[in-house]
Symmetry: C2
């Protein structure tokens, strides 16, 4: 007993997370640069000016490793005190990349969190298994499309939703541009679309789910969640980098039955590796599904980045439920077999404009998409 | 009357803001790329698939101009419908740069807002004149330092605050790394520091103001604002890109007597021009003062960027109060004359580590800094 108690106390006080940066520097300068990052991301002041021994021992960031990845490119591992995060999402981001985000020679590449900190955030409410249950899809990949363009009135969006639902999709999400605009207020739009999808779903016998896009501050987000739940909905869409991660975390915690889909708006420019931000961190803060630009579409993510992002979202992780990868962005039904071979069955394919371009043939084209996903033979 | 009424209605429905992007492209490709950005930032789908005439006329983004700035670099002006923003901060960011943030050939350079939209956000509560009143500084530049390192207990931070206040500073802010951590809970820290600064301020006869750093979700931010106000404080620090702009806007609106200082944490990597994000947009959402990395310190902003940022924060703008530029980041008292010559009297100089390095001589060094700023002869 006497031995165990101090050991725990010490362990708790000194517990560290590891932030992994990719840094461009000359070989002769990297040691000093790594040390500067460790200080910038912890005490942010000259070490000789710190008198407190505990701060020097337990709070100052520690360079744990430097590895050369190629000419002028290094991986730097910095151990930061878990206690500095206060187990709060915003403060975690602050510790990982607050000031260093302003230095353009640094990318936040990855992070390793002790299980205790991971548990404090706890991740998705439903996870991939929960989404499979929502969609009634036991083993196959899932499908999704988007309601757009913004500017349409609620009834026109509801009619689109009805036709997409008749095409047998699993999820129909709002375009992330649909907010609470005068020409299509959130309450009217969500009620109309939820009813249209429910009716079509009843007709097809499929469990098609409508996923409204939330926006605004935490008060407004909560009002919108309440409206969505009153309309019988079980999943919502948010852009975590626009609403702020602390708000995502709050919504996930106070709505344990609700599933969350994350949208990458404003997240692309953050010089944080996409597998970390859109895969790992959004999952940690509670995204059950994460939308990202598929390779070969109209965004620049490579095949390798997409693969790593899907892996970060899905791999086993200290009891945090897996998050469903949702590749999107300029996709077409023709690419279904190739995408499913690449991502496997644990994914959701999102095709928006590529379906809506079918015009009068929207239901037929959507049906082709749904069937192609359902019938795909995984190798 | 008959003439005026339809004119207003048309104007209202078609009212536009202008987003200004800097785009890297071949000259032969820029027209198509500009059009693609206009679509990405509005309807996000192929135009032929849009049947609604009103959406095509009023909602689709319009390329208003393309200018070559140099070989392979273009300025693209895109007019976006004001109605799409719903006058909400997050949705405004979404419309300006949501998906395009993922395209690394694009920088959001500037934005021109119609007066009606500017008025909807309304900007700072106090502005530069309000901060001058708080500091009792009629014409001179103002001074600031930071409490750090994080990891110190509340009483040690309060002792630091006391000594900095004895040095005659105008503002003493928390390091942005101070959150609500177990070793220094927000409530204890803020109470202790507020008391220490009030006592020292009484002794010196100067109006030194303590500015605590807020963090967390909107509920937590509100609780911290209440604690700060209960401690008699009139200004707080937030990192808008961490808490999310919608939360900043909510706090500013519901605390009309409170002043806000913005910190650039997590804002540096956003590929949004610093004068726009840290100067114009933070001001629009309510920052009375905005901290940014001064040129020649440990961050990479150029002298030109800093000058433009200060200009964006201060210039006359449709009745929006000006925001005080706060250059910081590796500054020293030696640089005071040069910085004041560059920024003029409407600024606040922030020196953190450069003062704290004085150790036992902290009060003297701080006094030197305060005096140097107070006595500077502006040319």
């Amino acid at each position: 007993m006497t031995r165990a108690a101090p050991a725990r106390a010490t362990e708790g006080a000194e517990e560290r997370l590891v932030a992994i940066y990719r840094v461009r520097a000359e070989a002769s300068a990297i040691a000093a640069r790594a040390q500067a990052i460790a200080i910038e991301q912890s005490v942010e002041m000259p070490l000789p000016a710190i008198a407190d021994a505990r701060v020097l021992a337990e709070i100052v960031g520690r360079v744990e490793g430097i590895a050369e990845l190629g000419p002028g490119l290094f991986e730097v591992r910095v151990a930061l005190a878990v206690a500095t995060t206060g187990s709060e999402p915003g403060q975690l981001m602050n510790m990982l990349f607050g000031n260093s985000s302003i230095h353009d020679d640094v990318v936040l590449h990855d992070v390793e969190l002790p299980a205790k900190l991971t548990a404090a955030f706890f991740g998705p409410n439903r996870g991939i298994a929960g989404l499979r249950k929502l969609a009634g899809a036991e083993r196959r990949a899932m499908t999704c499309s988007a309601l757009k363009p913004q500017g349409l009135p609620p009834q026109a969006l509801a009619e689109l939703a009805r036709r997409l639902a008749l095409g047998g999709l699993d999820f129909i999400k709002d375009d992330h541009g649909l907010a609470d605009q005068a020409y299509s207020p959130f309450a009217e739009r969500v009620t109309a679309c939820a009813e249209a999808v429910a009716a079509a779903s009843h007709a097809t016998g499929r469990l098609t789910r409508y996923v409204p896009s939330l926006s605004g501050n935490l008060d407004e987000l909560r009002r919108q969640v309440a409206l969505a739940r009153a309309a019988g909905l079980e999943m919502v869409l948010v852009a975590p980098m626009i609403i702020g991660l602390p708000q995502l975390r709050a919504l996930v915690a106070e709505n344990p039955a609700l599933a969350f889909m994350a949208h990458p708006a404003l997240a692309g420019a953050a010089r944080i590796a996409p597998p970390l931000l859109l895969g790992k961190l959004f999952r940690l803060m509670g995204a059950d599904a994460t939308i990202f630009p598929n390779h070969g579409g109209r965004f620049g993510y490579s095949r390798e980045t997409c693969g790593k992002l899907a892996e970060a979202a899905r791999r086993p992780w200290d009891g945090v439920r897996p998050c469903l990868p949702v590749p999107a962005g300029g996709m077409t039904p023709e690419r279904v077999p190739e995408m499913l071979d690449f991502y496997g069955p644990d994914c959701m394919l999102l095709i928006g404009g590529g379906l809506l371009a079918a015009g009068e043939r929207l239901v037929e084209e959507t049906t082709t998409f749904s069937d192609r996903v359902a019938r795909h033979g995984f190798r």
